[in-house]
């Protein structure tokens, strides 16, 4: 039976010492393969493959939003994970709007970074759930509401959607519901189809807009 392929990781760091440090640290993590280390976005396209989940991990000096926009153009199918000083919504929201898939604080442990790299490679939003929920709520403001489709969703799909709207990754959803990650992915595909959305971000925004927020 097939299992997930390891996540391809491209490290974008301007300083050579940081490049070497990130490569040494992350190449030891399970399910992550460091495919390249670059100092400049002009080299990024050399390492991109569309058929494998790929994460670009960016440890770069500001301005990050314009960098996110450029990277999204070069690598539209890759996840963009930005290293940030702190989870400040004022910094994170523009990054998400510019195309970032997730952000990780410098204060987080290595295991958290490894989880975020894997999640982002699959297009999942990688942020702490409390920050993700607030970010989604902010992004959902101004979006027009679509019709009430909730009756089309199964009980399990509603549960998955609620957890998605809390900003959880597929792994977190799977662990919460004691389902495999692949089953969660299958539920999400069904949800996307039923809601007529193309991505988990759109589905999460739909859920946020329709009140499927965490029970606080």
């Amino acid at each position: 039976m097939s299992t997930h392929a390891p996540t391809r990781l491209i490290i974008l760091a301007s300083a050579p010492l940081y490049q070497a440090a990130w490569q040494a640290l992350l190449s030891e993590q399970p399910d992550i393969v460091v495919a390249g280390v670059i100092s400049d976005i002009s080299n990024a396209s050399d390492f991109l493959q569309s058929d494998r989940p790929t994460t670009l991990f960016i440890d770069h000096s500001p301005p990050l939003s314009s960098l996110a926009q450029q990277l999204k153009t070069i690598a539209p199918n890759s996840g963009l994970l930005f290293l940030v000083d702190s989870y400040d919504l004022d910094q994170i929201l523009p990054l998400l709007q510019a195309g970032a898939t997730g952000c990780i604080s410098r204060d987080e442990p290595v295991a958290e970074l490894a989880r975020a790299i894997i999640a982002v490679g699959r297009g999942e939003i990688a942020l702490p759930p409390s920050i993700a929920a607030r970010a989604l709520a902010s992004l959902a403001r101004g979006k027009s509401a679509t019709g009430d489709l909730i009756e089309l969703l199964s009980e399990r799909e509603v549960e998955v959607l609620q957890l998605l709207a809390q900003g959880m990754t597929n792994k977190d959803i799977a662990q919460t519901l004691i389902l495999s990650v692949r089953t969660v992915e299958a539920h999400l595909r069904n949800i996307f189809g039923k809601l007529g959305v193309r991505s988990r971000t759109e589905a999460a925004l739909w859920a946020t807009k329709h009140g499927y927020r965490p029970q606080e």
């Binding site: 039976m1 997930h4 993590q29 009980e155 799977a174 089953t183």
Partner: protein
């Protein structure tokens, strides 16, 4: 309610034994070997002999290092979903007085020796070490008396039932059950009774 997506009829299950009760003994092999072994298997679920309460409260202090330092951190940063399968009050380690206690102590020394001399994590799961550990645990249970034996039997049935429930909840996935070696020879036949489970060697998961 619709069926679970991507479900198939058969769920593969492998049981991996550890000599976890000897966690205070020095472990000769690097836990990295166990991490590597399980990381390569990439199971969808890893069932651990811990209570739901321990899991919910993330109370891992009393868990053996195989769990605490190897499997739980590995599962945390990969796709493996942890499933606590022990009941709320698992049976305590059997004790006895007099000659029975003395013999039990001897058996434990034998088990500790198996643990100490195991060259790697796989060694207690195959060959003479696996079988000898099972015999020694049998002897300990026999020395402890019928009531203790019955408690352990119920505990194993509970573990097996939890695995079955999981397989029925999310069929067609790959489940790795990591428990004390004392349960391996009992859980495998228990699980084999169910046609929707395919019990395989851990290396064939």
């Amino acid at each position: 309610m619709q069926a679970e997506p991507e479900s198939t009829s058969s769920t593969r299950v492998a049981v991996l034994g550890t000599l976890a009760e000897f966690h205070r003994e020095p472990i000769p092999y690097d836990l990295e070997a166990l991490i590597q072994l399980v990381a390569n298997l990439k199971p969808d679920f890893v069932c651990l002999e811990m209570t739901p309460e321990q899991w919910q409260q993330q109370d891992f202090g009393n868990l053996p290092p195989e769990y605490r330092e190897a499997l739980l951190p590995l599962a945390y940063q990969t796709d493996m979903v942890v499933v606590p399968i022990a009941e709320a009050r698992p049976p305590a380690e059997p004790t006895a007085s007099g000659w029975r206690g003395w013999l039990m102590g001897l058996c434990r020394k034998g088990l500790a020796s198996i643990q100490r001399t195991a060259p790697n994590a796989a060694a207690v799961n195959q060959g003479w070490r696996h079988d000898l550990a099972n015999v020694l645990y049998h002897l300990i249970a026999w020395l402890a008396g019928g009531q203790v034996k019955k408690e352990w039997q119920m505990h194993r049935h509970h573990l097996a039932h939890q695995v079955l429930e999981l397989a029925r909840r999310d069929p067609g996935r790959r489940i790795l059950v990591v428990v004390n070696v004392r349960h391996c020879h009992h859980i495998r036949p228990d699980l084999r009774k169910y046609p929707d489970l395919e019990v395989v060697q851990f290396s064939a998961l």
